[in-house]
């Protein structure tokens, strides 16, 4: 059993994947921060409790935090996310970026935690702090390690990618478990999803998505309780069966397609902002193979992959 787990996490892989994922994921985090910054006015309606962090950061309540404090944190986070994306300052940029992200997301009514779930990104950023993602294909390697021999493959480049995939599936699976635990079969046998569709149509305050997705589809679908129950069952089944993706490589893309389409449907029917979970899909793509196919030939700095 442990051998299988070991094989899953530590099967050797090129450093190229992790470096590309580092660049893309931190660029994505950068985009998330910019998106919040450009919508800063949305915070103006939030009550005073918004400025009180909770959880691990609740000790900050005792400090007199001005709204400007969080704006500064945002800027620090943006700068260090950019550094992490280009691989500058190594692990320091990962750690600072994670701490800023965690602090911002610990606010009770933070925009992104209200309209979407940021928890997977929290863990991905945490895991990045322990990886060697910033060592190669980075500004650091160019400045300080230029003459060093580039590594080909190694398990230190493979386990973070596999860990992120595991986090992605774990969160999907646990979402299904939460539904089952909180509501049981009533989640799909009752009118639950039908009511959710109606409530999202009439009540969701995420006006940006509502204006983009000018949807009355949820109203149309909500007229049929059978259809909504079938949709609810398929969502629950998809979430609970998502760990099967690790058992068979052949179904990987099919399963990912189903999971992704589930999120797209949620945009149209529930107006859920999918942006906070889109970053996790980056880790499923074999970037070295993609680049190789795009370029048509293998570059000297791209290592040959085992089995490719």
């Amino acid at each position: 059993m442990f051998n299988k787990i070991e094989n899953f996490f530590f099967r050797e892989q090129s450093y190229f994947n992790l470096a590309v994922c580092r660049f893309l994921f931190y660029s994505y985090i950068l985009y998330l921060h910019f998106r919040v910054m450009t919508n800063w006015i949305r915070f103006s309606e939030f009550p005073a409790i918004f400025y009180n962090p909770y959880g691990l950061f609740s000790f900050l309540k005792h400090l007199s935090l001005a709204p400007g404090f969080y704006e500064n944190i945002f800027w620090v986070s943006i700068v260090f996310s950019f550094f992490a994306a280009i691989g500058f300052l190594g692990r320091i940029s990962f750690v600072v970026s994670f701490l800023c992200f965690a602090l911002i997301n610990s606010l009770p009514q933070f925009y992104l935690t209200q309209v979407a779930l940021n928890t997977p990104n929290f863990f991905v950023l945490l895991i990045f702090c322990f990886t060697d993602a910033g060592r190669f294909l980075s500004v650091d390697s160019f400045l300080f390690n230029r003459k060093a021999v580039q590594p080909g493959t190694g398990d230190s480049f493979s386990w973070p990618i596999r860990y992120f995939r595991y986090i992605h599936i774990l969160f999907l699976f646990m979402a299904g478990m939460y539904k089952l635990r909180d509501s049981g079969a009533a989640w799909f046998t009752s009118d639950n999803l039908r009511i959710e569709f109606l409530c999202s149509h009439f009540q969701r305050s995420d006006l940006y998505l509502r204006s983009v997705v000018n949807a009355k589809m949820n109203i149309l679908v909500a007229k049929s309780s059978f259809l909504t129950s079938a949709m609810a069952f398929s969502v629950l089944a998809t979430e609970l069966l998502s760990p099967l993706i690790f058992l068979n490589r052949k179904i990987k893309w099919l399963a990912l397609g189903i999971i992704f389409s589930m999120q797209v449907v949620a945009v149209f029917f529930l107006f859920i902002d999918p942006i906070a979970s889109l970053g996790l899909y980056l880790f499923w793509i074999e970037w070295d193979i993609v680049f190789k196919r795009l370029k048509g030939l293998r570059k000297p700095w791209m290592p040959r992959l085992k089995g490719s």
């Binding site: 959880g55 863990f123 646990m174 909180d182 959710e196 009540q203």
Partner: protein
């Protein structure tokens, strides 16, 4: 055994067991009442909603381009949506539906002159859109509006 080999083995165990621990950590808020960051708002749709919580009377501001947007905060103050509903429910038996809606429209227009219409949603999940002219007609009051509001009052 060299230190590096020990460290590599230890690191492998650390990674695998941390992954298992992360999975187990999710079970704590699942099976207990303990909620902790970052698991507080884990799945916002996990709990079944037994009945719609939207209000039957839902007022929209329709601007010049006919774009639909909810009334800005403060337009219907001191009525929030819940208060608005209860105010309507109390007033209907005494002054009638038509007067209530006129009153609401006047209130809304006083706060925001762009308001020129109302939208009413009933609990049967169908929605009806009415222009101002419709609201003042007898047919509307007797047929649709009264039925809608009474149905909603019953549910509440």
């Amino acid at each position: 055994m060299k230190f590096s080999a020990v460290w590599l083995t230890f690191r492998k165990y650390l990674i695998v067991y941390s992954a298992i621990a992360l999975g187990l950590l999710h079970l704590v808020p699942l099976y207990t009442d303990v909620r902790f960051y970052p698991f507080e708002k884990y799945d916002m749709f996990s709990k079944v909603r037994r009945r719609p919580i939207f209000r039957s009377v839902y007022l929209y501001v329709l601007d010049g381009q006919k774009r639909e947007r909810p009334a800005p905060r403060g337009v219907f103050a001191p009525y929030n949506r819940r208060g608005l509903h209860s105010a309507i429910s109390k007033l209907i038996p005494t002054v009638g539906v038509n007067a209530v809606l006129d009153d609401l429209l006047a209130l809304a227009r006083k706060r925001d002159p762009r308001v020129f219409g109302l939208r009413l949603y009933d609990t049967e999940c169908s929605c009806e859109e009415f222009a101002l002219a419709d609201i003042s007609s007898e047919e509307f009051v007797s047929q649709k509006c009264k039925k809608t509001l009474i149905a909603d009052t019953y549910v509440q």
